[in-house]
């Protein structure tokens, strides 16, 4: 697909700009990265507990979990096992580059990918509910490949 080509180019541009800004300020760390269309930075991430990130990211139109996402979810599963009184809502999101109704379905599917993975690590489905926002609640309001990559996400939120 051409989209992947565009995104690859965008990735290179962003990488180049990162190198440039790094030279300029030296302070810019790893925030604002995408790899193979999936966000790998730390911007916007919150923590459920120390070392337990609250969200995982997806490639365009994809619902499969990346290696990094699975690692995050294993940490979440460990935290949920230790805190058996806590229930969670998995909020699934899509970027703005899709039609509204399809994106609602896509968000639901992303959140369920995360839910299925948590369940394989022993978390009961009773403790996990799923809520799709489609493209209604972006975390980054920009219209760039980087902004979109941050918005394609499933966020684990404490329900109680």
């Amino acid at each position: 697909m051409n989209l992947s080509k565009i995104l690859k180019n965008a990735f290179l541009i962003i990488l180049a700009s990162l190198v440039l800004t790094a030279c300029a300020t030296k302070k810019t760390s790893t925030t604002g990265q995408i790899q193979g269309d999936v966000y790998t930075g730390t911007d916007s991430i919150e923590y459920l507990a120390s070392g337990v990130p609250d969200r995982v990211f997806f490639a365009t139109n994809e619902t499969v979990l990346t290696t990094a996402s699975r690692e995050t979810l294993r940490k979440q599963a460990g935290w949920l096992r230790k805190n058996s009184d806590i229930n969670v809502v998995l909020e699934g999101h899509a970027d703005e580059r899709g039609t509204r109704e399809y994106n609602l379905a896509l968000g639901e599917r992303r959140a369920n990918s995360a839910k299925d993975y948590l369940m394989t690590y022993g978390i009961s489905s009773d403790r996990i509910s799923v809520l799709s926002y489609g493209k209604e609640r972006p975390v980054d309001s920009g219209s760039s490949p980087l902004a979109w990559s941050k918005n394609r996400r499933s966020v684990t939120v404490k329900a109680n």
Binding site: G98, T99, Y102, E108, R109, N112, S132, E136, S143
Partner: protein, 446 residues
């Protein structure tokens, strides 16, 4: 409520069989028909009464302005400047001096009269063929004064019908989502307005996220998606009584609702365990039927006007494409095969076309194709736009578009736009706030 008070009291003259002026609406109209809309005449006593009730200085002029604006917006007519009119409204309505109207190049002339009788508003109007020097149509209505804007729309519908041979779409309303606030925390309210943007009303307060309202094709019921209590569900709303209810008892998100053409069923998606399929619920007996059963995402269903077929959006081929099937879910056929992704298929009320949103190389298009997928035509291209809805006569599409508010690509605004099926006459529809997800009502006077 208001609609029930409106009735046609008198039918002055039968429509004459000969049509001399005719407007061809099947092609992009680059030469709109010059038409003179004379201010409707009004006597001093009526003027005083309407001023008291409606705070309008001259109701005759006000109504004629509605007609004029509607005709102009259609792109098929060119209403002439009133400054050039030679004849007084009252005399023109009795017997136009056709040579005067001919002089300013008017081909059709609308005249009329407004009176205050028994606390009611009585309007009569005539449509004249200037070149032939003949009356083409004469009608009169009596209604409550507060309906005055609707009278202007009904006159436009009658003129449009007489001159184009097609049903009008002016006495209609648009239900839509009014939006405000930053993109990351957008406030969305259900809102309704007349087709020309007047009489705007908000139907929800903005406390919960609401999306995708759709009018019933037969009455003033609306179905939409609400996140009330953070449970995304399809709701049914009677906009005359304000009564609303959840549609069905599904253990999960229901979304993408639309009515069946007879208004008796709602068709929608139900998402569970990562899979969205299409279901219907009968509004009378509450029976739920599953229409699709496929591990892919199936959504955005829309019935054909005869109710026998359904078009929908599915990614069963790997990406979003448009499909059609029988109303029982059998005979599923993919119909979109062009480059890019396809979504939001909506069957035309005339039955012959499906409107859609297409995404290709970072652009969004609104287009139409035949129901077998042939004859794809893209009407408009932009950075971001979607969700076409048909006018009840199937001639015009309304959709929404997001644009960046400055040249650096920062900020954004969402507005409603309309475009003729021919691809001409693209226009922004004015709304008080930002707006999205428009849905066109059927004709109110039917």
């Amino acid at each position: 409520m208001l609609f029930r008070y409106l009735f046609i009291l008198l039918f002055l003259l039968p429509i004459k069989a000969f049509a001399l002026i005719e407007v061809d609406i099947t092609r992009g109209n680059l030469n709109p028909l010059p038409v003179a809309v004379s201010p409707l005449s009004i006597d001093n006593e009526s003027k005083k009464n309407f001023k008291k009730i409606l705070k309008k200085e001259n109701l005759g002029s006000e109504i004629s302005r509605i007609v004029e604006n509607n005709l102009k917006q259609s792109g098929l007519f060119n209403p002439l400047d009133k400054e050039a009119f030679l004849q007084e409204p009252d005399i023109a309505n009795l017997k136009p001096r056709f040579e005067d109207w001919n002089l300013i190049k008017a081909q059709a002339l609308v005249t009329g009269k407004v009176t205050f009788i028994d606390e009611k508003l009585r309007v009569e109007f005539r449509l004249w063929d200037v070149l032939a020097g003949k009356e083409m149509m004469a009608l009169a209505f009596t209604t409550v004064p507060s309906n005055w804007r609707r009278v202007g729309h009904i006159i436009t519908d009658k003129v449009y019908e007489r001159l184009t041979g097609e049903e009008g779409y002016f006495d209609t309303r648009i239900i839509y989502i009014a939006e405000e606030g930053p993109k990351t925390n957008r406030i969305k309210k259900l809102a309704i307005m007349d087709q020309d943007g007047f009489n705007n009303k908000f139907l929800t307060l903005g406390n919960e996220l609401v999306l995708t309202p759709r009018f019933s094709p037969t009455n003033q019921m609306v179905t939409y998606l609400s996140y009330f209590r953070n449970l995304p569900r399809v709701y049914l709303l009677d906009i005359e009584t304000g009564m609303q209810e959840v549609v069905g008892d599904f253990p999960g998100m229901t979304f993408a609702p639309r009515f069946s053409p007879d208004g008796k069923k709602i068709i929608m998606s139900f998402a569970k365990d990562g899979n969205s399929d299409i279901y219907t619920m009968d509004l009378e007996n509450r029976i739920v039927e599953r229409i699709t059963n496929h591990p892919s995402i199936d959504t955005s269903p829309s019935y054909s006007p005869d109710g026998k077929r359904i078009t929908f959006n599915s990614d069963r081929s790997g990406y979003q494409q448009i499909y059609v099937m029988d109303n029982n879910g059998k005979n599923v056929k993919r119909i979109s095969f062009g480059n890019g992704l396809y979504g939001t298929p909506v069957w035309s009320p005339r039955g012959d076309l499906i409107a859609f949103t297409k995404l290709h190389k970072g652009k969004f298009y609104i287009g139409v194709m035949r129901t077998d997928g042939s004859g794809e035509r893209l009407l408009t291209e932009n950075f971001y736009q979607e969700a076409p809805s048909w006018s009840p006569n199937g001639r015009v599409l309304i959709f929404y578009r997001e644009t960046k508010t400055n040249s650096k690509g920062e900020g954004f605004s969402a507005k409603l736009w309309s475009i003729d099926l021919t691809g001409y006459n693209e226009k922004m529809v004015k709304t008080e706030t930002d707006a999205s997800d428009p849905s066109w009502s059927s004709l109110l006077s039917n």
